[in-house]
Structures are given as C-alpha cells and as structure tokens.
C-alpha cells in the first residue's frame, strides 16, 4: 500500500513539536509510526503533515525516582518488556508490552504512540488503568498530568488536546503488590480480543485490595469495580477469585465490541475467565 502525500517536519524538542502542531492544523505526530503508518498505507488517515518527534532524546527511557516508575513516551515496547525496573514495579506492564504485536513491532512501537492512538484492542490502556498510572502531557497551555482512567475516553479518543503531546507515563512503584496481564489475542492481528490487567495487594493469602481493568472488548478500558470490591478482603484462592471474577459482567456496560471472530456475547462470557486468570497470576506475584 502507498500512503498519500504529506509534508514532513522533524521536531527537535517537545516545544518545537508543540510549535509545529499549532502551525500545521490537522498534522499528526509520528513517533515509532506503528499505529499511524498502517493507517497511512491504507489511506484511512490522510493528514496534511507529519511531525516526527522520534528523535527527541529526552522523551525516551525508563527510570525510577523515589517511589515513581517513569517511562518516556518514546520508549519502545521491547525496552519496557525487557526492563527489570518495569518487571519489579509494574509486572503487568512488562507482561503486556511483551505481548504487543511481535518482536519487530515492539522494537519500533512506542508507549506514547500506543496510548495516544488508544486503539480499544491495544494492550497498554487496560494495564495503565489498573496500575493507576498518570500520563504526562505537554501543550501550548502548559504541562499537565492526567490519570489513565481519565485519559482514555472512548474508541481512539483520549483527553489529549489538538496541540498536546504525551511525554511520559508514571506509575506508583508497586514492589509491595503483584500485578499481571492476561490476554486473549486475536489469531490474525494479535491485538487483544480481551485483555485484563490485575493488581493485587496481599496480606499473606488474603487480598487487601485489588485493581482490575478490562480492555479489548470495550471502546475504552474500564476498571472492574464490582470485581475489585468482591475480591477485597477475601482469601486469594480459586473459589473466591472465580466468584469475584463472575462479577465482571456488572462492570462491562452495554458497549461491548464484537466482530466476526468474537461476538459481544462471547467476549462478555469470556471476561470472567480472563479476569480470574489475571487475578490468579497477580495474586501469585503478590505473595
């Protein structure tokens, strides 16, 4: 496939990118390109200009400061998946990053690009919601931080303004909790038919608290509050996890996605199965 023509600008800094965005209405930001270029090739996106932010040095990398894990927007998924810091502080994120696309895709696709695109079948949004991550944004109106739960608004829709750029993701260090991601990949695209992230804090074999988020089957990820309440204070065994996971249906609302591979009914039925799998894996890491 062959993209339509566009103008190309290379941003030297976040500020430069912001300036270019305001100068070129309708322009799209280009990072790794693994969400955008497929759309350009199919001519489903025909932007007048691309602003390449891929070379802005300080947007990439993983660091831990005090109790915060910070991941730069340009950090490729492969780096997240392989990072010992991420594995220690946010294991579910490492799980998910390691299941995006395939190795070559993970080498180029970036965290910032992925979440700004907000594909409902993407893996990271649900994980960031469960981990209660905050998303750093820079724009003409200044810097701001948005929680993941408030960032993902709907199908490919985020809280990001026209002239704003995602700079990083921050996650509260989770050495005391266990987290995991359970995914039902589509056999062709390998996107998530369902992806469930769970974060469990345990007192021995008892769940002190849990955060569960579902992705893949909804326009935007949701926290499974009924499940979270049901498992809180319960023993982390198969019976109580299964019972709590069964509440997932109450958290899904009525916008469940379906396609020829997996209908909405089927995805709804699978939600408790994957919630239980994610909780079980997270619990094992929490102990």
């Amino acid at each position: 496939m062959y993209p339509a023509d566009f103008a190309y600008y290379r941003a030297s800094s976040v500020q430069d990118a912001g300036r270019l965005l305001s100068e070129h209405p309708g322009a799209k930001l280009l990072a790794g390109g693994h969400s955008l270029i497929p759309l350009l090739k199919l001519r489903l996106a025909v932007p007048p200009a691309l602003i390449d932010v891929g070379r802005i040095a300080d947007l990439s990398g993983i660091s831990v400061a005090s109790d915060r894990l910070r991941i730069g927007a340009l950090t490729p998924h492969a780096e997240v998946a392989a990072s010992s810091e991420v594995a220690t502080h946010a294991a579910a994120l490492a799980d998910a990053a390691g299941q995006i696309g395939d190795p070559a895709v993970r080498n180029r696709g970036t965290v910032g690009g992925n979440i700004a695109h907000a594909d409902p079948a993407s893996d990271l949004p649900a994980v960031l919601c469960a981990l209660d991550a905050s998303i750093g944004i820079v724009g003409a109106g200044g810097d701001r931080t948005v929680s993941a739960g408030e960032f993902f608004l709907g199908m490919m829709t985020t809280a990001l303004g026209e002239d704003e750029i995602v700079t990083h993701v921050e996650i509260h260090s989770g050495q005391e909790h266990g987290s995991a991601y359970a995914k039902f990949p589509h056999p062709a695209s390998r996107f998530a038919v369902i992806g469930v992230a769970a974060v469990v804090t345990a007192d021995g074999d008892t769940c002190r608290s849990a955060a569960v988020a579902l992705g893949g089957l909804l326009p935007a990820p949701v926290r499974a509050s009924h499940v979270e309440q049901a498992i809180g204070g319960q023993p982390l065994n198969e019976a109580s996890i299964t019972e709590a996971a069964a509440r997932a249906g109450d958290d899904l609302g009525d916008e469940i996605l379906g396609d020829v591979f997996a209908s909405a009914d089927y995805r709804q039925a699978m939600a408790p199965v994957y919630v239980a799998r994610a909780l079980t894996a997270a619990a094992a890491r929490a102990r």
């Binding site: 496939m1 001519r43 056999p187 591979f261 997996a262």
Partner: protein, 784 residues
C-alpha cells in the same frame, strides 16, 4: 561404488540465491523506462456501472494513461475457461478483463491507471469517479442456487454454472438395505491461498517487432502464453512468458487473470515496460480463493461397521466468473475420489457449481480431494460413534487390502498400488493409539477434553493421461516433456516444461538425472519457467511435476544413457551388448577398468571426431511422456487435541503423519512438503476463513483478520512413511505436494469432535474458532 543420489536428502541447489536475497522474483525486476499499473476495483459486490470520469486521474502527476472497459473492449477478449467439464450443462458466463456494464464482486476491475511510479498510480486511482447502481447480491452457494436469489448473469438460469453427477454401484439399494445411516451437512469454508508472494506481472512489448515478454508469477508459463494469445491477441510465437522465481502458489497461480492481460494491453498501448503488482489486501479480492462447498452427505453401513454406500449433494461456490480450471475441481478431482481408500461399493454425488458475488474460486492445495476426503472421513467417524466402535476399527474393517497392480473403483478410476492397512497399523503403533485412548479416558475423569482424530486417505495426482484430459473436458494435454543436453565437459543442462515454484525440483530432478547417466547432482542444471528456452509443458499443480515431469526426465536421461553406451562401446572397441552402466561408468561387462565416464563420452559426442557409424553427433535427448494413469498416494494421519471448555480454545497437542508417495527422491524435501501441507490443512480446521458479509464485502479482507497458521500455535509434526511404488511410473514415484493438506483438515476436525463427544456435540462449522466451540459446548450442555 558411486553413491546413489536418488533417496539422498542432499541440500537444495535453489537455496544459495534464496538465502542471500539474490533471487529475482517478478516484482524485483526493474526495466529501463518501466512504468507502473494500478487497478481500480469495484467496492460493490454487485452493481451496474454508470459513468466513469477519468479526467482528474488523467491530469494527475506522473499519469501516462487511464483505461476503462470501453478502451479495452477491442484489445482484450473475455477471459477463457479452460476446463469445460462435459455432460454438466456447463454455462460459461462472459468474463471481461475490465467490467463495462456490471460489476459482480468486490474486486472486479473497472479501470487501470499507468503512472511513472506506484505512488502516483495509487494517487490517481483516488481521482477516478465511478457511478454505481447497487444490485442485490448473494455470496453463499447454497443460497445462490435457491429460487428468488439475486441473478448474476442474464444468460445463466438460477446462477447454475453446471450440474455434474457421478454414480457407481447401486446406491438406492445400499441405502434401502442399510442397517445404519449417518448424515451431516458440512461446510467447507472459503479459504484464501496466501502464497507469500503476491501476484505480479511485468510486460515488455516491442511495437516494431510485435514481440512480447511477460514475466509473471505463474505456475504454468506455457499455458499462460497460449491463453495470452487468446485474450491479448499477441500470437504465441511472438510471446515469451517467463516465470522467474515464484514465491509459492498453492493453486492460486494456476489460473490466468485479468491483471496480467491488462498489463500486457498497457505495455502494447504505451510502448513502455509496465509492471503491476498486487498488494496483499488486493490479493484477497483479486486472486482466486479455494474450497467453498456446502455438502449434504449420507453414509450407509451395516451394524458391524461395513460401509455400503455414500450419497451426497454439493453446492460449490464458483465466484462471480469461472476461473481457468475451476469447473474441474469440485467435479473430476472431487467426486471421482469418493470411493476413497475403502472402495465404497456404491456412490452417488450431485454437484451444483454456483455463481456467487464473490472472488472466483480455483484450485487450492489438494483441489477437490480435501473436500472429498473430509466428507468420507467425517462420516466414517460419525458411523463409528453411531455403532459404538472405535474409529480405528471401522477403518481397519473397510480399508482395501494391499494391492500392487490396480484396484478399480465404482467411479471408474484404477488406483495404481496401495497398502492402506499397513499405513494405518504403522500410524497406530507409532502413536501408541491404545495408550492415547487410555490417557484420554483418564483425562475425561478429571474434566479434561482430549480428542483423537484419524484420517486415512488416498488421492489422485500426477495429472494425468492426456486421453483422459480430453474426455473430461480439460482444454489441453497433460503430458510433460524434458530435454537432457550434455555439454562437452560432461556438464548437463536439463530443460523441463513444468514450472516449480518452491518445491525443489532443481534439486530432485538433478538427483534423477545424476543417477541415470552418471554425473554428480552439481553437474546438472535444471532450467524451467521460460517458454523461449524450455519445451512445452502443462505446469506445476496437482502434485504432477515429479509424477509426470520426473517421468519424462527419467526417460530422456535413459535415452542419453543408451546413446552414451553406444559411443562408449565404440571408444572401448566393444560390442554394445557387452556394455553395462555400473557405478556411474560405462564399462565392458566383467572389465570394470575398461570404462568411460560420461564426460569422456560427452567430449567425443560433442567434437564428433570418432563416432560410431550412423550415430549422430551430440549427446542430447528429449521425451514427451504421457502417463498411462494417475498416481494414487495414500496415508494415515492422527491428530491429538485438547479443548479448553471455559473458552473453546483448541490446542493441537500432537500430529502424526504417515504418507506413502512411493520411493522418495529426496526424503528431506518430501518431509518439508508434508510439514507445509499438513499445516495448511490444520489452518482450515482451526483458523482460516474468508468471510463475506450480507452486502458481499470481504470482512476478512487483510492479514489483520484472516488468520494464517503461525509457528507458536503448532506442534512438531511427526512425519513417517511407507513406500509402495507406482507400478506404471518409470521411477515408481507418486507425488507428495498435496497429501498433507488432503489428510490433515479432517484429522483435526475429527479430533476436536472426539474431544467434545462426551458432551454430545455433533457438528461445528469450520474453522473451530473459540467462540464456535464454546457455543457448541454451551448448547450441548444446556440440552442435558
């Protein structure tokens, strides 16, 4: 003792260029002045075409020309159908290269743009305005055959392209007397072949001389050259067709397509070389699909498991037009095989070929035989379930006993040789079937759903005697030819009419020749795929390249050997009757030191200083080999699966294949063919499905939606073999390209159904998507 190369798993001689990126596929060609074509395709499944405005496209940067169907009406004749199955009321609807009045599937071509580069050509496509008036459409063959269905072609009643029937034995009696009858409605879902190389064409036309060179991703360049003359009007003698490196075909590169001929048309008009290459998504619309049967099947049997009859009706989707060989596939290559490896004594089948608003359907690996094997093998398992007998025992009871020189079937075929019971026994013992059944029973007690699936098959390949080809309406011969030319240095050129595209005949054919005339495999260069340099041949499909082309080659090589013997006798001053060919040398019997190598003989033959009387100079021979019969490979496969009842996901845990393709020229290559074939069949069972929605849009329109087998979802395939030579083939070989695919789909199907049998699940349409399996489990368990 010279090592015999036949039977040796030597490394492939094709590979050095392929592993270094130095091979040349069609899309790799760049000719001076070359320009690029892109096709505008219908977004509607069925519509009348009104005004087409090309003026903006014509004015776009880099555009040389835009042509619509009006422009090509004179220069491009309708697409030919070349398998006119007789006695079938065949109706070949007009198939224009570029649609003029009506489009009949999403992907039908309505215009072509030629521009300096691909990007510009695609830009210009966006600037063409076409007025469409949408018409009702139909994509399911059984529905298209019903009264009141939307009609595709004014001159084809009920969308019926043909009605073909086959029968043998007394089927009515078999069913009247049957103690057990099992029935099933089976859907052989539509598949997309997905050769990794999309199709491409480069056409170069000299307007002064009238000479055309067409490079194309074809499995049969000689057939393309002929049909090109019919469609584009470039006479056969002025056209050179070259199949350079071809990246797989699996049947989809047998037919001729409008795209190639439009490319030729553009090159003729513009006097510049034109390249057209399809994108993958375009391939999904424009390149032929496979299978697409709805089958209603009944099997009659006795309570002791003896199969007495098979009766079925098949609606075979043909797509919007008949592709080149399409009518022969659900008929000749399908119905004649229904007696299967059991020699079923009474068989009756009605096949309705149906036009639908879809991409044309053609041969896809196995072509008709997987669909036949599936029906029979599925019904055998249903019978086993019905009478409470193990499926292995039902098969043992019915398999034809070993034979080495012919078994006649009620559909008029004569299987050449076979030992089906031994293949099954070997399979059961290697896999330890009894232990697997015990393991399955134990697993069931703990709520795990493990299933075993068997498939025993025989197939017909090595197509085929030309006299038969004529009788069954194939518009060509099915012989093959080969030329063996020995140069003065003893190096050998082999020219073949078939056109391998990944199967490895540059290696296996060198092995054949090396043994036959006494050279090393590296001394033999196999040349194929260029109609100007190779002898006429009918192409590579139907597992026929080795079965027919290899036979031609062996015979040509033997002619060379006979002549070499005469010359060697002369040089050694011996009588020809006293000569023998031993250890790759031409020697006097009893005097192995009095010997000449092929190089010695070749030098003399080529300089011709001292030749025997009445012997021509040169050392070269050619043959035309027309096989006396088809060949009939066979085998037995076993799949072991586990189904996760919570999600419906199927895990293929083990796969064992035993295939008998006769003596193996190169067992490593044979094993590779089995691996690939088996996995393609597994793909049909578990993942692959071309789905059209109600408006005729191909929903699985790219690799994002159409699931191909991937490495991580597959077990190691265990490959074994038995060896039963074909009595009529000069080397005894039968063919192995399609066997794996023919056997494996139903083996996996039977395994999944076996896993679910305690739940009472009887049928699930393929592929076994998790949702389909889960739903079937839900419905069955609710019913209890």
């Amino acid at each position: 003792m010279a090592t015999r190369l036949f039977g040796s798993g030597i490394r492939r001689r094709e590979d050095p260029r392929l592993i270094t990126g130095s091979a040349t596929y069609t899309d790799d060609l760049a000719l001076p002045g070359m320009v690029h074509a892109a096709m505008l395709r219908s977004p509607h499944a069925h519509a009348t075409v009104g005004a087409i405005n090309i003026s903006r496209a014509q004015a776009a940067p880099g555009v040389l020309a835009v042509y619509t169907g009006k422009d090509t009406r004179e220069g491009l004749q309708p697409m030919p159908c070349a398998w006119l199955v007789p006695d079938a009321d065949l109706k070949v609807a007009t198939y224009p290269c570029i649609a003029t009045d009506t489009v009949r599937y999403v992907g039908d071509i309505v215009a072509v743009v030629v521009a300096e580069d691909c990007y510009q050509a695609y830009d210009a496509l966006d600037l063409i305005d076409v007025e469409y008036d949408a018409l009702p459409s139909v994509t399911n063959p059984a529905e298209a055959a019903r009264a009141g269905a939307p009609q595709l072609h004014a001159d084809v009643d009920k969308n019926q392209a043909f009605h073909w029937a086959v029968s043998g034995g007394d089927v009515d009696a078999a069913f009247k007397d049957a103690e057990v009858v099992v029935k099933e409605r089976i859907v052989q879902q539509r598949l997309i072949p997905n050769a990794m190389e999309p199709r491409a064409a480069v056409a170069q036309y000299n307007q002064a001389s009238g000479d055309l060179t067409l490079w194309n991703t074809t499995q049969n360049p000689h057939i393309l050259r002929f049909l090109n003359s019919v469609v584009t009007g470039v006479p056969e003698d002025r056209a050179r067709v070259i199949a350079p490196e071809v990246g797989g075909g699996f049947g989809s590169k047998i037919p001729v397509y409008p795209g190639e001929f439009i490319t030729v048309f553009c090159a003729k008009q513009l006097g510049r070389p034109v390249k057209w290459n399809e994108t993958r998504s375009e391939n999904y619309q424009a390149t032929t699909h496979g299978r697409d049967h709805v089958q209603e099947v009944e099997l009659a049997a006795k309570k002791d498991g003896t199969i007495t009859g098979l009766r079925c009706t098949v609606w075979a989707g043909m797509g919007a037009y008949l592709s080149t060989a399409a009518p022969g596939i659900p008929t000749i290559l399908h119905g004649l095989m229904l007696p299967a490896c059991y020699g079923i004594p009474a068989v009756k089948e009605d096949v309705y070929g149906v036009y639908t608003n879809t991409t044309p359907v053609e041969a896809y690996r196995g072509a008709g035989r997987p669909e036949a094997t599936f029906m029979v093998e599925r019904m055998v398992d249903r019978l086993a379930g019905e009478i409470g007998m193990d499926p292995a025992d039902v098969r043992k009871k019915n398999l034809i006993a070993a034979f080495d020189d012919g078994h006649d079937t009620v559909t008029g075929l004569t299987y050449d040789s076979g030992d089906y019971p031994t293949a099954l026994e070997k399979l059961l013992s290697h896999a330890d079937y009894t232990a697997l059944r015990t393991e399955q029973a134990t697993a069931r007690t703990s709520g795990r759903h493990i299933g075993l699936g068997l498939s025993t098959y025989v197939e017909m390949c090595g197509l085929g005697p030309s006299q038969v080809a004529g009788a069954i309406g194939f518009q060509g011969g099915l012989w093959e030819s080969a030329i063996v030319r020995v140069h003065p240095t003893g190096k050998v050129h082999v020219f073949i009419g078939t056109s391998p595209h990944g199967q490895g005949e540059e290696t296996t054919f060198a092995q054949i020749v090396a043994d036959e005339i006494g050279v090393g495999a590296d001394d033999v260069k196999v040349i194929h795929g260029d109609t100007d340099t190779t002898p006429m041949g009918w192409g590579t499909y139907g597992s026929r390249t080795t079965a027919v082309g290899g036979a031609a080659l062996a015979k040509a090589a033997r002619k060379v050997r006979d002549k070499a013997k005469v010359i060697a006798a002369h040089l050694l001053e011996a009588a020809v009757e006293d000569m023998e060919f031993v250890d790759g040398k031409y020697s006097v019997k009893g005097s192995p030191d009095k010997a000449k190598s092929l190089a010695d003989v070749a030098l003399m033959a080529n300089v011709a200083w001292n030749m025997p009387a009445d012997v021509e100079a040169g050392l070269e021979a050619s043959t035309f080999y027309d096989p006396p019969n088809f060949t009939f490979p066979f085998g037995a496969h076993l799949a072991v699966v586990e189904v996760d009842p919570a999600t419906g996901q199927v895990d293929l845990k083990r796969y064992v294949a035993i295939d008998d393709c006769g003596p193996q020229i190169n067992p490593v290559i044979v094993e590779g063919q089995v691996h690939g074939g088996v996995v393609q069949g597994i793909g049909q069972a578990l993942w692959e499905h071309a789905i059209y929605d109600d408006s005729g849009q191909l929903v699985t329109g790219s690799l994002l939606d159409y699931a191909l087998p991937r490495a991580a979802r597959l077990p190691e395939i265990e490959v074994l073999s038995t060896v039963t030579p074909s009595p009529h083939h000069p080397l005894g070989v039968k063919g192995i390209g399609e066997a794996g695919t023919i056997a494996s789909t139903v083996a996996v199907y039977n395994a999944v159904m076996d896993a679910l049998s305690p739940l009472g699940v009887e049928a699930i349409d393929m592929p076994f998507t998790p949702e389909r399996v889960w739903r079937a489990i839900q419905q069955a368990t609710k019913g209890h």
